[in-house]
């Protein structure tokens, strides 16, 4: 149900004439459902923004929320729901903030008892419904992006790349490795090799309960990529079950060095680089 041009201008008139009353009652109605979790001043400012947005839209002859004239109103609404979503309010609480306007409008229009007022009210209410649904949608979108952000942060947290020794970095992997995480680990490990100029990397999978073909492939690709860059990877902490899986899946680890524990791997690497330095010293002496 869309607003006619006349209804739109009547809405603008109504909102402008009773500005003080509308914002006051609207704020009160929302405050009830918020139970003091939002300051009165902030709430009032939000309501004033909404009120202004609606006046701007209706003065331009808004037909429905999707139309050109409502772009500013939509911006105000998404701003509101973004804020609510981030502050941890529920979707209902957010939508109710908009729906509360219906009660306010009803109060204002009750005195006009002709049939036109009823039709107007229904049209206004339809617009408010659209606004409410729009709030709902932006709320969900905000929450989704919040969740995605958190998942990413978790990914960052769970994949530390540490420097073990001069020229040796390690990634202790803990928890289930899915394809996305394996990829992040791979990229970060390789970047750390460049940043620290370390020619050796140890991937420790002691804390990984299981690997599937895809994850094993990711680890293998990391090792090959590191080699292309001029660094050596050693895999340590392969559990018996994982070793069985690797063999059962027919994954070729080829000439990749594997060690039982992180300590063994470090010893192996130090021996490799130690031999080199030892030889060089020997040469310098000679």
């Amino acid at each position: 149900m869309a607003l006619s041009a006349e209804q739109s201008s009547r809405l603008a008139g109504l909102l402008t004439r009773h500005e003080e009353q509308v914002t006051q009652r609207w704020t009160e109605a929302i405050a009830g459902s918020m139970r003091g979790r939002l300051s009165q001043a902030e709430l009032r400012r939000q309501v004033q923004d909404l009120h202004r947005g609606m006046i701007v839209a209706s003065e331009q002859g808004v037909i429905d929320l999707d139309s050109e004239q409502a772009s500013e109103l939509r911006a105000v609404l998404s701003e509101l729901s973004r804020g609510r979503a981030r502050q941890g309010f529920s979707a209902t609480e957010t939508a109710v903030s908009v729906f509360a306007l219906k009660d306010v409008l009803l109060d204002l229009m009750e005195d006009q008892s002709d049939g036109g007022a009823l039709r107007d009210y229904v049209a206004f209410a339809a617009l408010v419904d659209q606004m409410g649904l729009f709030t709902f949608e932006s709320y969900v979108r905000t929450r989704e992006s919040l969740i995605a952000d958190q998942a990413e942060q978790l990914l960052e947290l769970s994949t530390p790349v540490v420097k073990l020794w001069e020229g040796v970095v390690a990634v202790p992997l803990v928890g289930t490795l899915d394809s996305a995480r394996a990829q992040v680990v791979m990229e970060r490990l390789l970047q750390t090799l460049v940043d620290t100029g370390s020619p050796y990397a140890i991937i420790d999978i002691t804390g990984v309960p299981a690997v599937d073909t895809q994850v094993a492939q990711h680890i293998l690709k990391t090792v090959v990529a590191a080699r292309l860059m001029g660094a050596d990877c050693i895999i340590s902490g392969i559990r018996p079950q994982i070793a069985q899986t690797i063999v059962a899946l027919g994954i070729e680890f080829g000439d990749i060095a594997t060690k039982a524990s992180l300590a063994d791997a470090l010893r192996h690497v130090l021996r490799l680089s130690g031999v080199e330095t030892g030889r060089r010293q020997h040469r310098r002496e000679a």
Binding site: E137, Q183, E187
Partner: protein
């Protein structure tokens, strides 16, 4: 409701020389950066474009490329269409096999490029030409 920003018209580019292959790479990179592909994905799609542009030049006898942004509602991406009116590919399965080449290359162009992108579509007819469409989506 407004959906995403339109990044503009598809960018067309002729592939007639070595330098054009370089231009294709730069063009694809610009679009890949604009749709916010990760660095690795940018590198993958630019590499794939480089392989396919060279194929268009060497095997197709030159042709055109069209680079545009794609949007499936959830993610944005880069879509690249390579078209030539060359001899076409007689045995597609063979051409898509790693290591198979008729041009003295490494035989990784087609098969490798396919692994670097998310969507790969190839249409070819002997004597009429080849048209390859690839898409890489942002994560």
């Amino acid at each position: 409701m407004t959906t995403g920003v339109d990044l503009g018209q598809p960018q067309a580019q002729a592939i007639r020389s070595d330098e054009d292959v370089v231009r294709v790479r730069q063009l694809v990179r610009t679009v890949a950066v604009a749709v916010k592909l990760s660095l690795v994905d940018q590198t993958k799609v630019v590499t794939a474009a480089s392989e396919l542009a060279r194929n268009t030049l060497v095997y197709g006898g030159g042709g055109t490329v069209e680079v545009s942004t794609a949007d499936n509602g959830r993610r944005k991406g880069v879509r690249i269409v390579f078209a030539d009116t060359g001899p076409g590919i007689a045995d597609l399965d063979l051409a898509l096999t790693d290591g198979y080449t008729t041009g003295g290359g490494l035989g990784l162009g087609l098969s490798g490029a396919r692994r670097l992108v998310d969507e790969f579509d190839i249409r070819t007819a002997v004597g009429e030409g080849t048209r390859i469409t690839v898409t890489k989506w942002s994560r």
